[in-house]
Amino acid sequence: MPTRGRGRWPLRVLALGYLALILLVPVGAVLWRAFGDGVAPVWQAVTTPDALHAFWLSLLIAAIAVPLNTLFGVVCAVVLVRHRFWGRRLLDAVIDLPFAISPVVIGLALILVYGQAGWLGSWLAQRGIQVIFSLPGMVLATVFVSLPYVVREVAPVLREVGTDQEEAAWTLGASPLRAFLQVTLPAIRWGVAYGVVLTTARALGEFGAVTIVSGRLAGQTETLTLYVENRFEAFDLTGAYAASLTLAVLALLVLLAMTRIQRKEGR
C-alpha cells in the first residue's frame, strides 16, 4: 500500500537525506578529489608500475578465487539442498562464518596454520612451498572471505527448481552428471551468475585479511586495496584517490551486473 498524502515527504526526505549523507556524497567527493588537479595526474598515478602490478595482482587473485568458490558453491548447494545427513545444520552454520568474522582474525588464523611455523605451513615449507607472504596465502584469504556467496545464492534457486526435471532426464537415458549439467545447471544459472558477481566484488575489495597475510611488499604482494592504503600512508593522496577511483569504477560495474541479473531473475 503506497504511502499517501503529506506523510510521504518527511519520510522521503529523511531516507534520501540519510542515503545522500552516508553514500552518495562521499562517493562524489572521491571523484571530485581525484580529479582535483586534472585528469593527467590521475592517469599517471594509475599507471605507475606498482599501481599496475597491484591492479593485475588483484585480478589474478580474483581469477583464481572466484572459480574455486563457484565450483565449491554449486557442489555445496547440491549437498545442502538435496542430501539429508547428520551435521547438515552444522555445515549450514559453518558456511555463514565468513560473513561474521573479522578479516584480521581470518588473517591471523591463516598465519597460524599456513605460516612458516604453522600447523601445515612448516610441512609445506619443507617442500619449498610458501603460502604466507606469497600468492597462495593471499588466494586463501580471499577464498575464505568470499566463500559463502555462491552457495547462498544458488541454494534457494536449486531448492525451487526441484528434482523433477533431472529425474525426467534420467528416464530419458541421461547419466546423473549429464542430467545435472544439461538440465539443472541451466535452470540455476542466474543464481550462479549473481553469486559469482558478489564473490568477485568481495574478492576484489578484500583488505583486512590480505593485508596481514601478504606482507605488503610493494610491487610483489600488494593488491589494489593494499596499494590504496600504501599511498595514503605515504601522503600520496592523488595516488590513493586514483587507485580508489579504479576500485570504485569496478564496484559500479559490479552493481550494474547485479541489477541486470536481478532483472533476469525477475526479482
Binding site: P2, T3, L11, R12, L14, A15, I22, L23, V25, P26, A29, F72, V75, V78, V79, R82, H83, R84, W86, L91, A93, I95, D96, L97, P98, A100, I101, S102, P103, V104, V105, I106, L108, A109, I111, L112, W119, L120, L140, F144, L147, S175, P176, L177, A201, G205, F207, G208, T211, T225, V228, F232, Y241, S244, L247, A248, A251, V254, L255, M258
Partner: protein, 274 residues
C-alpha cells in the same frame, strides 16, 4: 534417518558413491580453509592456559578496544534498525524519479572495498573537508564508517518482507480506525520484526569485525578510537600472536553468538510462517 538409507533415496547406482564424494569434497574444502584456521586461533589462545588467556584479553588497551567496538556496534545496529526501516519503507511504498537508481545504490557498500569507503568518508568528513565537518580521528567518525558498511543489511532484509506484505491487514486496521503510526506499530512492525532482527544482527556482527574503513578514518588512537580489529592487527604486527589470538577469540565468540541467535530467529520465522 541413517545416512545410508537417505543416500539410497536418490536411487540409481552412481548416486550413492557420488553423494559421499560430494560431501567429502565439501568437508575437505571447508576444513582446510575455514575450520582448521579458526581452530588454530582458539587453540593458540588457550595454549598458556586460562590465566594467560584472561590476562591477554583483559589487557587495558585490549579491553578499551573491545568496549569501544561493542558500544559502536550496538549504536550502529540500533541506528540501522531505524534508518534501515525508513529507507526500506520509502523504497517499497513510495514512488519518485530515480528510485531504481537509489535502490541499486543501496548495494554500494557491498561492492565497494572497505578501504575505499574509509578514504571517501575521510575525504568528505575529514580534516580537509569541503563541508567543514571534521570527523576524522573521532568516535563519530568510526560510527560513520560503520554506518556506511552496514547500510545494506537491514534495508535488504526488510525490503522483501515489506514487498510481499499484502495490504489487507493494514486496510482492515484502517477500517477499524487506526492511524498510520498505529497501523505501523501494530501491524507492520510485528511482521517485519524477524527480518529486522536478522538484519540488525548481521549489521552488528559486521560492525564488530570491521577493519578496512575504520583503519583509515579513525586514526587508530588507542583508548579513543582504536577498535578491536585494529588492535588485533597491531598485536600481529608486533608478533604478539598469543594476545592477538586471545582478543580474536573474544571477537569469534561474539560472531558465533550472533550467528546462533540469527539461526534461532530464522527457525522461529519458519514456524510462524504457517
Amino acid at each position: 534417518m541413517a545416512a545410508s538409507a537417505v543416500a539410497r533415496r536418490r536411487s540409481g547406482l552412481g548416486i550413492r558413491g557420488g553423494a559421499a564424494l560430494l560431501r567429502g569434497t565439501v568437508t575437505l574444502y571447508l576444513s582446510l580453509i575455514v575450520i582448521l584456521p579458526l581452530t588454530a586461533v582458539v587453540w593458540r589462545s588457550s595454549r598458556g592456559g586460562w590465566d594467560a588467556f584472561w590476562t591477554a584479553a583483559t589487557q587495558p588497551q585490549a579491553l578499551a578496544a573491545l568496549r569501544l567496538t561493542m558500544a559502536m556496534a550496538v549504536v550502529v545496529a540500533a541506528g540501522n534498525v531505524v534508518m534501515g526501516t525508513v529507507v526500506a519503507w520509502v523504497l517499497v511504498r513510495d514512488e519518485f524519479p530515480g528510485k531504481r537508481v537509489v535502490n541499486a545504490l543501496i548495494d554500494l557498500p557491498f561492492a565497494l572495498p572497505t578501504i575505499v569507503a574509509g578514504i571517501t568518508l575521510l575525504a568528505l568528513y575529514g580534516s580537509s573537508s569541503p563541508v567543514g565537518l571534521n570527523l576524522g580521528y573521532t568516535r563519530p567518525g568510526v560510527v560513520l564508517a560503520l554506518a556506511f558498511v552496514t547500510l545494506p543489511f537491514v534495508v535488504r532484509s526488510v525490503q522483501p518482507v515489506l514487498m510481499t506484505m499484502e495490504p489487507d491487514q493494514e486496510e482492515a486496521a484502517r477500517c477499524l480506525g487506526a492511524g498510520p503510526l498505529t497501523s505501523f506499530r501494530r501491524i507492520v512492525l510485528p511482521t517485519i520484526a524477524p527480518a529486522l532482527l536478522a538484519g540488525a544482527a548481521l549489521a552488528f556482527a559486521r560492525a564488530v569485525g570491521e577493519f578496512g574503513s575504520v583503519v583509515i578514518l579513525s586514526g587508530n588512537i588507542p583508548y579513543r578510537t582504536e577498535v578491536a580489529s585494529v588492535h588485533v592487527f597491531s598485536l600481529v604486527e608486533n608478533d604478539d600472536v598469543a594476545s592477538a589470538a586471545a582478543v580474536s577469540v573474544v571477537l569469534l565468540a561474539t560472531s558465533v553468538l550472533v550467528l546462533a541467535g540469527l539461526n534461532l530467529i530464522q527457525r522461529r520465522r519458519t514456524r510462524h510462517a504457517d
